[in-house]
Symmetry: C2
Subunit: 570 residues, 2 copies
């Protein structure tokens, strides 16, 4: 039975038209990244698990795709496993041999795990009698064990005798054949699972998986910076456009494999970086034709200041979430929710200015300066914001709007300064199409202190959806051939191929229909492929060294020489 | 303790310079693919395991990276697990309640697994007494079980009473809370592992992993063609440049993650495709400056013909492997090896012409035609080869050589017609830098019959190594900024940023040094980054609306206005 082909949920195939559109966005972003002095790096798709785990919170950790150690079983991992299994069995046998009373409570207690293991295998062989510890050599239990393993796993212990010498002592058990090593992995992992009931499942996963697909580009970038710190010239402006993987529940617009496009600077505290990143957003979206996006900006220190002022830093998220609903549920609704969440009435009174937080950016900053006057941290944030907004305003943006949004609280756990988020142009229903911020200690997790980083990210999939909706992809994005040479037989095809070769050397995209099929079929192929012209070569064309040239849109047809053909297709 | 950062063996980080070089190769290949009418597709990094498994032979299957179902535990897989655990426990309790004699041999035998499971948990709690089946409710074993699971896994059974009603019967156990479901997965998988000793490890793997990283681009392409057959216009010329993953033992030049660059045509038997693919190789390598590669060609049908003629189709590999050593060990050595491998003396005599297989391609084909005159299959191969070689020769190649190599036997299991392999230019020690062939039944494994495909692949990593060795990368490959604007303070930086903004809008790559550091440090930064010019803006430049412009290679310095600056940087 042939399999009905499908792909894992949350993943996508991209057709030529889709790839072309996505590449158009990538290439625009890339051009702008480079214009702003960012340089590309690439990191492996999978990282060591310990590089990723614990960096994204508990929820994030759960969403990391782990890779089975399948390919590793000849290496560290499997050796440990093999040794483990062999040890369990052999130690027990050694104990057994050295013990005078194998039925003593002490002995049984000390070898509980081993006995249990042997019994399990013994019983699974259909021998339901109890394990007679005096008879383990008599009834050749050891042989049964390996036969059983063999049966379960296809494992062939070629030299059983090798492991069991006549003294009953086990020697050289580490000296397994390479092939045995390969196959013993199967049973080893099962045996390991058996014992792993004693440990928790996290430990279990760690032992069968040591690699994981990257979850974002930021942590691999931090790892890269630390690992290559001696080769890197700081401040380091890098960009990275690669896929990431998340085991999220797939939803409309949320995928398990998707591209991230990140630009980060690491090694400088200069707020000019923030200014440039706002300009970079503006530059990319303007060039894509996506005018009118709103670049929302906030600052972690302002949020800390607010938390200080309301006297409840643990309520910060509740506070911003509630405040964000101002447009939807009104001032009273927001206040009601804040009270319900345990924010005091006094606190709400203090932040009253935030309920009427309108005006120009400068007016908003002024309001914040008053509100946070007594918070040192808060005022730092206000000053940073002032610097960024002043300079962005002075330098001007092409098509984007800059706006201050105090409810913007993304990345609260890692951002320490500026926080960015980009909203699609008004009228387009779509979540954020970009975001970023500053993190003062990007590389600290990997041991390199005092490396401030600031970066932004572009949400490719959403940008593509928006561009599709607004109809912003240029016609020319799809790079089909300019002309299809029809095929009337090998002689004609050879004549065509000579012309095709010369055209291609001039960089002109043309193709030969590979088979001598009915002419209708060949025309239909050009049409379905979106190829605008057909070149027709029959006997008479060959004789006169000509080409029939047909415009497939108008139906117009003419006979031309090669030079004219070049002109028509260029 | 901070982690010492590293990446999994067999994987690589790519620095900006490396990315630039690789992208140069990619982009050359891509341009040529499109010039020849191929269109890009992309497929997901991971496929369903059943799409990949069994397609690459036993060795290949072992080298496929499997992905743990970690992300799936709220879906199918985990539901089955949860139900499994709940069933084991609850069925046992139901049995217990309905049984008059819980200590009967019959009862114990029937509930062996459940009792064992309970005992295991019971004992792991430190209660080493035997499980008293009459007292399981009295001593609240059930509670202990869940507390134990809780302890091991962080699982919190919020409503224990919910699962145990006063009748002792378990109802609604499938009605777990969402959060319980999430966490119960941990213990479920361990429990599953426990029972999995009864099944073999392949089954085990299949149950904890349902996805795998793609091993090549051909099988995903076949899957794509079948899945999207109704949207595809055939013949379908697609190219695909994406990474693949293999759990190979890492070696010099062999990686666990590497890019493949494939171009295939599916849906046509026309040999013009083979002709074009030879031209495509020639075109790419010529454009890369890698002249003088040898495109070796053979045909599966010729190999079948030889097998027929020597009367030993099972010895075909041995035969070609031995024949391939002609240069190294001489005619006698080869014959000796053939005899050792069980190829008869008579057979060796018949294929005597292959030991002196020199001359032009046409002369070689002539020799083959004589040798294989009585093999219908062999003669088909000879004719195909003749067509391809004749037309390639007539049309001419730019810099590559075409050669017939009867020892070329790559992909013997799937190629059915032409076989290609590209050897680096003479004098460069490197294995093949490309390969491909025709496979008559590309999509049959996925249920779509009679779809012939033919394709070629470029070995990116080896091509990059060769180009590095021969020194073929153009200087301009690394796209650094044209100029670094030095930073003497915020006022000067703002003046610079105004110029920078205008330069970038003209597509000129320039950057501002972000911090007001010592001037030496800033110059050194430009130098280390390979930025050729520095722009110096101090108070006097601002006053006179000028820019200091310094050529960092020559040290030459001048004061210029903005218009001149543009000219100098364009």
């Amino acid at each position: 039975m042939a399999q009905k082909p499908s792909i894992p949920k949350g993943t996508r195939d991209f057709s030529p038209a889709e790839v072309a559109k996505r590449n158009y966005i990538f290439s625009t972003i890339k051009t702008n990244f480079e214009k702003f002095g960012f340089q590309p790096i690439e990191t492996p798709s999978f990282e060591n698990s310990e590089t990723l785990m614990g960096k994204y919170g508990e929820e994030g950790d759960r969403l990391i795709f782990k890779i089975l150690n399948s390919g590793d079983y000849l290496d560290n991992f499997s050796d440990a496993f093999i040794n483990g299994v062999i040890n369990i069995i052999s130690n027990f046998y050694i104990n057994l041999i050295n013990e005078s009373d194998v039925n003593s409570i002490d002995f049984i207690e000390k070898n509980k795990i081993q006995i249990e293991f042997l019994e399990r295998i013994y019983n699974s062989k259909g021998l339901n009698e109890s394990l007679n510890l005096n008879k383990v050599f008599d009834n050749n239990l050891f042989k049964i064990i390996f036969e059983t393993l063999d049966e379960y796993t296809g494992l062939l212990f070629k030299n059983l005798d090798f492991y069991m010498n006549h003294n009953g002592k086990l020697e050289k058990y580490a000296d397994l054949y390479e092939e045995d090593k390969k196959t013993i992995f199967s049973i080893s992992s099962t045996v390991y699972s058996l014992w792993s009931i004693k440990s928790n499942s996290k430990k279990f996963t760690a032992n069968i998986s040591e690699k994981a697909l990257r979850y974002d580009l930021t942590v691999p970038f931090a790892r890269y910076v630390v690992q290559h710190q001696n080769e890197i010239e700081f401040p380091f402006k890098r960009y990275q456009i690669q896929p990431v993987w998340r085991a999220d529940r797939p939803q409309k617009g949320r995928f398990r494999e998707f591209y991230q496009c990140d630009a980060d600077v690491v090694g400088s505290n200069s707020l000019w970086q923030e200014v440039e990143l706002v300009q970079l957003y503006d530059s990319v979206f303007s060039q894509l034709g996506l005018g009118g996006v709103t670049i929302k900006i906030n600052n972690r220190k302002i949020l800390s200041g607010i938390a200080e002022v309301i006297g409840a830093s643990d309520k910060l998220i509740d506070f911003t979430v509630a405040l964000d609903k101002l447009d939807k549920i009104g001032e009273d609704g927001v206040k009601k929710e804040m009270l319900e969440k345990g924010i005091s009435g006094t606190a709400i009174e203090i932040v009253q200015p935030l309920f009427n937080f309108t005006g120009t950016i400068n007016e908003k900053i002024e309001k914040l300066a008053q509100l946070l006057a007594n918070s040192e941290e808060g005022m730092k944030g206000v000053n940073e914001l002032q610097f960024i907004c002043d300079n962005v305003t002075t330098l001007g943006l092409q098509t984007a709007f800059l706006d201050l949004d105090v409810t913007l609280a993304r990345g609260l756990n890692y951002y320490t300064g500026a926080i960015f988020e980009v909203a699609a142009p008004k009228g387009v229903a779509m979540g954020s199409i970009g975001g970023g911020g500053r993190y003062d200690d990007l590389t600290g997790i990997f041991g390199l202190k005092n490396m401030s980083g600031v970066g932004i990210s572009f949400g490719l999939d959403r940008i593509a959806l928006v561009m599709e909706e607004v109809g912003l992809f240029p016609e020319a994005v799809l790079a089909t051939s300019k002309a299809l040479f029809l095929n009337f037989g090998d002689k004609e095809a050879l004549y065509s191929m000579k012309a095709i070769g010369k055209l291609r050397q001039k960089g002109i995209k043309v193709e030969l229909y590979p088979d001598k099929s009915k002419i209708d079929k060949q025309f239909k192929h050009a049409d379905r492929r979106g190829i605008p012209f057909a070149v027709i070569v029959g006997e008479s064309e060959i004789e006169r060294e000509e080409f029939g040239f047909k415009n497939l849109a108008t139906g117009e047809q003419q006979k031309v020489d090669f030079a004219t053909l070049v002109t028509l297709l260029q």
